[in-house]
């Protein structure tokens, strides 16, 4: 699951993610990070489910870091999309596939939000919400 983390001025200098990784042994992957003295925002991938995931989320909350689930990582506008495939092979993690009839399919779990596909789309049909 992908989470958007919001740090405040008081906890931005704490090694929150490292503490949680050491404690839970869940290999949290940082996808995006914007950190300043006044706070920070990160997007992380938490490869866990069920109890383990609840524990990770609980630990973020306890550390004062808001952790909201990102439901949709990328949006493909099917009205605009021409099913060309220009976004498919440039995806560095093969999260975008073409079905047998060439329709585009995004595997949100694999997506690392690198945004290469957003620029690769010739008709601007992909955006990150």
């Amino acid at each position: 699951m992908k989470l958007r983390l919001l740090y405040t001025r008081s906890n931005v200098s704490n090694p929150v993610i490292s503490d949680i990784v050491l404690k839970t042994r869940v290999p949290i992957n940082i996808l995006e990070a914007k950190v300043s003295l006044n706070g920070g925002e990160m997007v992380v991938d938490v490869p866990a489910t069920g109890k383990e995931l609840d524990e990770v989320r609980g630990l973020f909350e306890r550390a004062g870091v808001s952790a909201k689930e990102i439901k949709s990582v990328m949006e493909i506008d099917s009205e605009k999309c021409i099913s060309c495939g220009a976004c498919v092979s440039p995806c560095p993690v093969q999260a975008i596939k073409q079905k047998p009839e060439w329709d585009i399919e995004l595997d949100e779990g694999r997506c690392i939000r690198c945004l290469i596909c957003v620029n690769a789309c010739p008709v601007r049909a992909i955006r990150s919400p």
């Binding site: 060309c84 440039p90 010739p122």
Partner: protein
């Protein structure tokens, strides 16, 4: 070839008679390929009257002639813009040509001539702005208004080069991401992109040009259009045939004319083209039956910024459609840039039009050439190459040399870059004055400890433009010039380029 275009199996009149009665046998190229594989060419060729084809890809050589009508008082437009995209005005007072790759003066890459055409066909309002110098007969000097497609007297799509028979596939051997007209190419052969509709491609289905010619009626942008000649760069003997086409924009549909942007390359227009191939003889049938696994293309290395890019591998469209190919022993993902989904839809739409008696086939007034020379542009006059710019006397050093000694050498010789070479003067690294300053500050003793080993280099025959672009891309101020054996034969720096610019200005 003798008897090109002979109508031995059926004539155009016979086909159109059947279209009129509603009993013409029409199949798409995909269906025809499958039927021939199952039943053999002779049986199927006897049965099928027309094979429909389709392609939907970015076709940069596209645009539209527009006639705006005359304002009161009238204007002889000298410069004109549509939604801030400049249109060509070297024509009569209110005629203009808007080309797909022209870019908006305010939005640049995000909006271009292709988008203007899509917006017009979508019946959106488009801002028209024009300037003039004013004449006795055309006194007005400026105009700003909005137009919609149906206001225009004529709006005619005239595309000098469409429907490439096939196209090269692309990959990238360099260590940086490339943004090209072949889309986004990942470093180190990270992916392959390709274009063209393979076995649905119109020109492969009549590869000897026996039926397609001036006056051939076609599906164009969702409406009806015509072939008006061979396209520019038509090179049929290399299977790079192209078409020049025209059609009334007012009949077309925005679905099949889509403005496009290739990131950091420019704007274009996706055009839908479908051509009916009348099965007039067995040769035409044989061409129409060509399957994906017999249509080949080369994967070229777009990392080489040259007219002649080296071919990495020859593959068929069947290979490319599998989604991966092997390059240097590694599986590399492939994906198309043109839409197979739309290409198929176009072939199916054209099939329905003919079956429904809405579309008749036309015998061309003249067939297209099946031989044509494709010439490069020779640059006459002297053009600067690295060897003309580079400094031949290079200060070099060895990896085990002392940092302090080289620091004083840099000061004495007034240079900023010192290529590091081994015993046979082959390049192994580089240090800059900045590296040395840092080395001194950090108390390092030999060059080996501070040199950059991954050196960006130039070759003596490369053009000045290419080398200047490389310096900017890597954000460096100089690079050694090496020969085939990687021996240093010179150095080219931004100082050399600046000197050159000064000389040229004088």
């Amino acid at each position: 070839m003798k008897h090109v275009g002979t109508e031995t199996l059926r004539t155009y009149e016979q086909i159109n008679e059947r279209v009129k009665k509603g009993d013409a046998v029409v199949v798409t190229a995909d269906e025809f390929v499958a039927q021939v594989q199952n039943c053999g060419i002779e049986t199927v060729a006897k049965e099928v009257d027309v094979v429909t084809t389709g392609t939907f890809g970015a076709m940069c050589s596209s645009g539209a002639f527009l006639n705006f009508g005359h304002s009161e008082p009238p204007i002889k437009m000298f410069k004109c813009w549509l939604n801030d995209v400049p249109a060509y005005k070297g024509l009569a007072a209110v005629d203009a040509y808007v080309g797909a790759t022209a870019m908006s003066e305010s939005e640049g890459f995000d909006y271009g001539g292709g988008h203007v055409i899509e917006d017009l066909v979508s019946r959106k309002e488009v801002e028209l702005r024009a300037e003039a110098y004013g004449t006795d007969c055309y006194p007005r000097k400026a105009i700003e208004t909005t137009i919609v497609l149906d206001d225009l007297n004529q709006a005619v799509l005239v595309n000098p080069r469409n429907a490439y028979e096939h196209y090269n596939a692309a990959t990238n051997s360099t260590d940086r991401i490339l943004y090209t007209y072949m889309g986004t190419l990942l470093p180190n052969h990270g992916n392959v992109t390709y274009s063209g509709a393979g076995q649905l491609s119109p020109l492969y289905k009549d590869k000897n040009f026996e039926t397609i010619g001036i006056g051939t009626r076609i599906f164009l942008g969702g409406g009806i259009g015509y072939v008006i000649g061979e396209g520019t760069q038509h090179s049929p003997q290399n299977e790079f045939g192209t078409l020049m086409v025209r059609g009334n924009l007012k009949q077309m549909k925005p679905k099949y004319l889509r403005g496009a942007t290739y990131y950091r390359y420019g704007t274009s227009l996706y055009v839908g083209v479908g051509i009916p191939i009348p099965i007039i003889n067995l040769r035409v049938a044989g061409s129409a039956a060509l399957p994906d696994n017999q249509i080949f293309t080369n994967i070229l290395d777009y990392g080489v910024p040259s007219r002649s890019r080296p071919a990495v591998k020859k593959v068929s469209y069947a290979d490319l459609k599998l989604g991966k190919v092997v390059i240097n022993g590694r599986s590399v993902p492939t994906s198309p840039l043109s839409s197979f989904k739309y290409a198929k839809e176009i072939a199916e739409t054209l099939k329905r039009w003919i079956q429904g008696g809405l579309f008749f086939l036309s015998r061309p007034a003249e067939l297209l050439p099946n031989q044509s020379e494709f010439k490069p542009l020779e640059v006459r006059g002297h053009e600067l190459r690295v060897k003309d710019i580079m400094t031949v006397k290079v200060t070099t050093a060895r990896p085990n040399h002392d940092v302090r000694m080289i620091a004083s050498l840099i000061v004495r010789n007034g240079v900023d870059h010192v290529p590091i070479v081994n015993g046979d003067s082959r390049l192994v690294g580089i240090v800059t004055s900045w590296d040395l300053a840092r080395a001194l500050a950090e108390g390092k003793s030999t060059l080996e400890e501070v040199m950059t080993t991954k050196v960006i280099t130039a070759r003596e025959n490369e053009s000045g433009d290419v080398v200047a672009r490389r310096l900017t891309q890597h954000n460096i101020s100089g690079m050694p010039v090496v020969d085939d054996a990687n021996k240093v034969i010179g150095i080219v720096t931004t100082d050399d380029l600046a000197k050159l610019l000064r000389k040229w200005k004088e």
